[in-house]
């Protein structure tokens, strides 16, 4: 793909609304960010925060009941308005996805060799032999023995299947990989192995990665930049290390504390959480109509203004932004 000026991926005011009969449920409510080649962006959030919907909508992978607006510029081309044929070419060859459940994302009745070869044959226009050779190399690179090319998915363990998913995602040497909770179902030890692998591949190949997870500590370890989503919007975005050590949004702070650091006396026998629950779909619909901060009902430092003022992302430091009125206070005082 020719190198174009500007970032590889630019998302502008992305909104996704699910239509459910009479009801409209806004899942993503205006998300903007950019990602360059070789950069890694982590997206953190709880279930219902819209993080997976947002990531899948980039490649128009959502059901037809989802209405997507905004712009997704990939190498300067808007994926949301482009033709389907063009989009199909972009999927896998230029941008690919590692899904959450490797077992359900792999076809159980076809060998993994066939499944890895499929996108190569489709997009790279090479022969069967060359495709198999590339598939074998890919398996080697993710640490699965290449002689197992003719095995079926159920013959592998969960960790190996997730490695195979990664191999498939890398099959056509994409510029962008979207990894949706790639390690969630895995054990700690296997998770560490898969993350290590993913990190190595990214460093070597200079691929842009969007990694989605509920686990802030995993993301901060893997990604340079981090976006924390709440109720369909970005609550805070910035360099990963800074977001962990010096969060500006109270929600980022709460998420960071939810998984304690072992050895930290402050968290010993003192688990930390947030009262209440993330907004339900009907509450989200109400939020989009009214004013005020979506996080206000659960916020430990909420003020009266949080209920009436509209919050948006404000600069909270170099290269970082937070959607909290307290950030503005900090800037003026």
């Amino acid at each position: 793909m020719a190198t174009l000026p500007g970032p590889m991926l630019e998302v502008r005011d992305l909104r996704v609304t699910y239509r459910n009969g009479e009801r409209a449920v806004p899942a993503v409510r205006g998300v903007s960010f950019t990602l360059d080649r070789g950069q890694t962006l982590g997206i953190a959030g709880e279930s219902g925060s819209g993080k997976s919907t947002m990531a899948l909508s980039l490649l128009r992978l959502l059901a037809p009941s989802a209405q997507v607006t905004g712009q997704v510029l990939f190498n300067g081309e808007d994926l949301l308005t482009g033709r389907w044929a063009r989009l199909r070419a972009v999927r896998w060859s230029a941008a690919s996805v590692v899904f959450q459940g490797a077992m359900s994302a792999l076809n159980p009745v076809r060998t993994i060799g066939e499944q890895i070869c499929e996108p190569i044959l489709l997009h790279d226009k090479v022969g069967q032999k060359a495709a198999r050779k590339r598939a074998a190399e890919l398996l080697d690179s993710v640490g699965v023995l290449s002689r197992r090319l003719d095995s079926y998915p159920h013959e592998f363990s969960g960790g190996q299947r997730q490695r195979i998913m990664i191999a498939m995602a890398l099959a056509c040497r994409p510029d962008l990989v979207i990894a949706d909770e790639p390690t969630t179902a895995l054990d700690v030890m296997v998770q560490a192995q898969v993350l290590e692998l993913l990190g190595e591949l990214v460093r070597e190949s200079g691929i842009g990665v969007i990694m989605i997870s509920h686990d802030l500590s995993v993301l901060s370890h893997m990604c340079e930049r981090l976006a924390v989503m709440y109720a369909g919007q970005i609550a805070e975005i910035g360099p990963a290390k800074q977001l962990i050590t010096d969060p500006r949004h109270p929600y980022t702070r709460a998420l960071g504390r939810a998984f304690p650091t072992i050895g930290d006396p402050a968290s010993r026998l003192a688990p930390s959480g947030l009262p209440g629950d993330p907004p339900t779909p009907p509450e989200l619909a109400r939020l989009s109509e009214g004013k005020g901060c979506a996080f206000e009902p659960r916020c430990p430092d909420a003020a009266a203004a949080c209920r009436t003022e509209t919050v948006e992302l404000w600069a909270s430091g170099p290269e970082r932004e937070a959607a909290c009125l307290r950030v503005l206070e900090g800037a003026t005082s």
Binding site: E46, S47, S157, G159, Q160, D187, V188, M189, V190, Q191, A192, Q193, E196, H214, D215, L216, S217, V218, S220, H221, Y251, A254, L255, R257, A258, F259, P260, T261, I262, G263, S267, R268, L269, A270, P271, S272, G273, L274, P275, D277, P278, T280, R298
Partner: protein, 318 residues
């Protein structure tokens, strides 16, 4: 003092599929939970921690060994089990699945008392259990059905259902694994509060070492059906002796040091290796080449709570 719940030389096996050896899910475990104590049982999936939890509430009958409550061994007649369960309650991982979708909150919480014939003042009992579990005001929740609540609220209902029987110990199998990060802490806080206010003891099963740091007094690390290291949380998590505990700690994202990645996947309980069961994956043994590791079996850890830390390893400095 007699522990509230004690496990002695427990073995749980599952019959094999045709031709294969039986799976030794729990393969010799000693464990004690004292009055008002919270013990964390951690390990990877398939290590036998869930089987141990199920055996502790009498859902699985052990192949051998004993479970004792206040020093009394658990019998397996219907009446003995019922009496035992009055005092030992289970909290499951997936609160959505643990509640009958056709029962409202009141009935779900009242179920235990009704089964045990505690129907005098049932409404007050349910009210109190809901309040203690943090579902306030209880009137607002009593008529709701599981699908009308969030995961955190559902887990509180499950906990309230257990509390309604006024148990002395709760066995919680991954109580927060399916909950959102921000809700996780609230449920853990609740378990700590219940210990402080009611003197409730708990055995919390988890894959998450951070959870142990958050709420447990003591910890037991399980690998392939055995406890490989046990002791106080501070001792085990800050000064681990067993190479497996060390490896688990090293792969935590914020551990700082270099992660020790164990080769391979969690092993198979149908074919437990001889000698030290961890030896095929052990990073220490690979360096030391100690012949003892693959030949000499290790004794089962006593689980003595008065010792600050015990490790089942030939190479660990005791």
């Amino acid at each position: 003092m007699t522990p509230v719940l004690e496990v002695r030389d427990l073995m749980v096996t599952y019959p094999a599929r045709r031709g294969a050896a039986p799976a030794r899910a729990v393969d010799g475990v000693n464990l004690q939970v004292g009055q008002g104590e919270i013990v964390a049982l951690v390990g990877e999936s398939g290590c036998g921690k869930s089987s141990l939890a199920r055996a502790l509430v009498g859902l699985v009958k052990p192949a051998s060994g004993q479970i004792l409550r206040d020093g009394e061994p658990l019998g397996y007649s219907a009446a003995a089990l019922k009496a035992f369960r009055r005092h030992t309650q289970l909290v499951l991982q997936d609160p959505g699945g643990a509640l009958n979708p056709r029962q409202n909150v009141f009935d779900a919480v009242a179920e235990g008392p009704r089964l045990h014939g505690l129907t005098d003042g049932l409404a007050a009992r349910v009210h109190s259990a809901l309040t203690r579990a943090g579902l306030r005001p209880p009137e607002e929740f009593a008529g709701r059905f599981p699908h009308e609540m969030s995961g955190g609220q559902q887990q509180r209902v499950v906990i309230a259902g257990a509390l309604a029987l006024e148990p002395s110990v709760i066995v919680a199998d991954e109580p927060v694994a399916s909950l959102d990060a921000s809700v996780r802490g609230e449920i853990l806080k609740l378990i700590l509060e219940l210990r402080d206010s009611l003197g409730l003891s708990a055995l919390v099963v988890s894959h998450d070492l951070g959870l142990a740091w958050n709420i447990a007094d003591r910890i037991a690390v399980m690998y392939l059906g055995r406890i490989v290291e046990t002791g106080t949380v501070e001792e085990v998590l800050l000064r681990p002796k067993h190479p497996y505990t060390k490896a688990l700690l090293s792969v935590l994202p914020d551990s700082g040091g270099r992660p020790v990645l164990l080769a391979g996947e969690p092993p198979d309980p149908t074919s437990v290796p001889g000698g030290c069961r961890f030896h095929p994956r052990c990073p220490l043994r690979a360096v030391e080449q100690d012949a003892l590791c693959d030949s000499r079996d290790l004794p089962v850890l006593t689980g003595d709570p008065s010792v600050s830390s015990l490790a089942a390893c030939h190479l660990a400095e005791q």
